[in-house]
Amino acid sequence: MIDDTTVRHVARLARLRLDDAEEQVMREELSGILEHIDAIRAMDLDGVPPTTHVIELENVLRADEPRPGLSQEDALREARAVVDGSFEVPRMD
């Protein structure tokens, strides 16, 4: 079982605010996932190449040819705030 500090750390990295009850649920669910990984680690996997995909595809590459994108108006359509053609966000510096 992972500890509360770890749960809070992961929640903070994901920008999630959890109350005590949610924290407890997360602690159990995350621990379950890690236990499953421990089960895999316990297996003898020598000589089994790590796979990152279930489909054996390689080199899906695109030609370097520009395609039309969005107009500025469309790009900004869902923005919460716009200033001079830019997305405005809370001050970051």
């Binding site: 595809l57 107009s71 500025q72 405005e88």
Partner: protein
């Protein structure tokens, strides 16, 4: 206390000058109206999928080959997770443990001709973040930051070096020559000002002879090599001072203020280094065909560092000549053409000296000017056979720049041919007779007055005499030497 030595490694971000972004078909841009080069992929709308730009892969391989890197037979992309408004997906697609280019080595050459070897840890592909401008907001009381996604998703190659550098000066030499190599490869504009090349330096100090590394600081994003060199210098000094006074260097990100020369600490973003990399599930591995890699290897142009050696060893240029000439691929081509027609060392002198000086006033580069490499070679030839004096040759050059005529034509048209010795002696005799005071000074051993006679003679002959010959003739006339 034992002596301390600096230990420096650098990370260089190079924007690839491809026509489209790393994972979508938008054209990257610099200077266009904000948010006019975006699409659902680079704005991270829900449900979109990235597709790798094959040209970016090709350029990453070209860079890796030039840096002598091992090319990974099969490399994969990772997600680097962090929240920041310049990163709409909240992760950057980058590479982690299997970069496309692995270990390599780059050899730079110092001014004294000695080699500066720098190990390359890796060179990997990733996407650039958007441009975030602080304090650009306008809403009353909000004064927020603003984001322009035109740059977001531009292909980057990040080159990481081993901590092999030992001084700020060496760091600058390495970066300048690396930039030169990248320019020759034609993969990037490498403009520090426009941010298409950016460098961070990791700086630490340790007792000389120690094999372990001291605590390092990261000097961020310098936009010129000069500032970077000064910044590294200042940071080394700061760390030496801390240790000399019994303190400990803190691991942190620092910033150099060019105006004050001070190092300031950037507030460290809490937990910012917990990037939780994991394999990018939306992208399949890149496994470059070995035949393709071999082809790219054979197509590699002659690079500036080996070229510099050849210019010095085989063509008689100085290190300094070679550094100037290898400044750009265009200048190399220009020089090589001239050097194939006349003495290479003389061609180098004229190109890097007088030609560039005269063209600077016009804001032109040699290859853009009226002066062809053949003109340079012809001028060098006229000088070698004594048809023109050095001062006259400068005027001939000015004439060629103006008209585009070949040097011999300019000499003819402007009467710039060397005067014959008899005429020159007669003129000098007149000048000596007309200036008895100065002649006496020369007899009294005041050699400085020679400049006066040379100047007068040049004036009278319109520069059609060789200053050295003039000096000899003046001595003969005054001193009977």
């Amino acid at each position: 206390m034992s002596d301390l030595e600096p230990v420096i490694g650098v990370e260089i971000h190079v924007q690839l000058s491809t026509r489209t972004k790393m994972f979508c078909g938008c054209a990257p841009s610099f200077g266009d109206a904000p948010n006019t080069h975006t699409c659902p992929v680079c704005l991270a709308h829900p449900g979109v999928l990235p597709v790798v730009n094959g040209e970016a892969v090709r350029r990453a391989l070209i860079i890796g080959l030039a840096l002598g890197c091992e090319i990974a037979p099969r490399s994969i992309f990772h997600r680097k997770n962090y929240f920041y408004p310049d990163l709409p997906k909240a992760y950057q697609i980058s590479q982690f443990d299997i970069p496309i280019c692995g270990r390599g080595e780059f050899t730079a050459i110092r001014e004294d001709g000695s080699e500066l070897k720098v190990g390359i840890t890796r060179a990997h592909l990733e996407e650039d973040a958007a441009k975030l401008t602080h304090g650009g907001g306008r809403r009353a009381g909000a004064d927020g930051s603003v984001v322009d996604f035109n740059r977001g998703g531009t292909p980057l190659v990040e080159i990481v070096t081993e901590p092999d550098l030992r001084s700020a000066a060496d760091t600058a030499i390495f970066l300048r020559q690396l930039r030169q190599t990248l320019l020759f490869l034609g993969v990037s504009d490498c403009s520090m000002e426009e941010g298409s090349m950016r460098a961070d330096a990791n700086v630490s100090v340790r007792p000389v002879g120690s094999q372990t590394l001291g605590v390092k600081t990261e000097l961020k994003n310098m936009n010129s090599f000069r500032f970077l060199e000064r910044g590294v210098e200042a940071e080394i000094a700061r760390q030496r001072e801390i240790i000399a006074s019994g303190g400990h260097v803190q691991q942190e990100t620092v910033h150099y203020e060019p105006d004050t020369g001070h190092i300031t600490s950037l507030r460290s973003k809490e937990e910012s280094h917990d990037y939780r990399y994991f394999p990018e599930p939306d992208l399949v591995p890149v496994a470059p065909d070995p035949a393709w890699v071999e082809q790219l290897r054979t197509e590699q142009p002659e690079l500036p560092i080996p070229l510099r050696r050849r210019l010095v060893d085989e063509m008689g240029l100085t290190q300094e000549d070679a550094e100037v000439i290898t400044g750009s691929p265009e200048l190399v081509a220009y020089f090589m053409e001239a050097a194939g027609l006349a003495d290479p060392k003389s061609c180098a002198n004229w190109i890097r000296g007088e030609l560039r000086a005269q063209l600077r006033e016009l804001g032109q580069e040699p290859w853009e000017s009226n002066v062809t490499p053949a003109h340079v070679a012809a001028l060098v030839g006229l000088l070698a056979e004594g048809t023109v004096s050095v001062p006259a040759a400068k005027e001939v050059l000015a004439g060629v720049i103006e008209t585009g005529d070949d040097p011999a034509t300019v000499v003819e048209a402007r009467g710039l041919g060397q005067m014959d010795a008899g005429d020159l002696s007669a003129i000098i005799a007149e000048i000596v007779n007309a200036n008895p005071d100065q002649a006496q000074q020369l007899r009294d051993g005041k050699d400085k007055v020679m400049g006066f006679f040379v100047g007068q003679t040049m004036k009278r002959t319109g520069g059609r005499a060789e200053p050295q010959a003039v000096q000899a003739l003046v001595r003969a006339a005054v001193l009977g030497e």
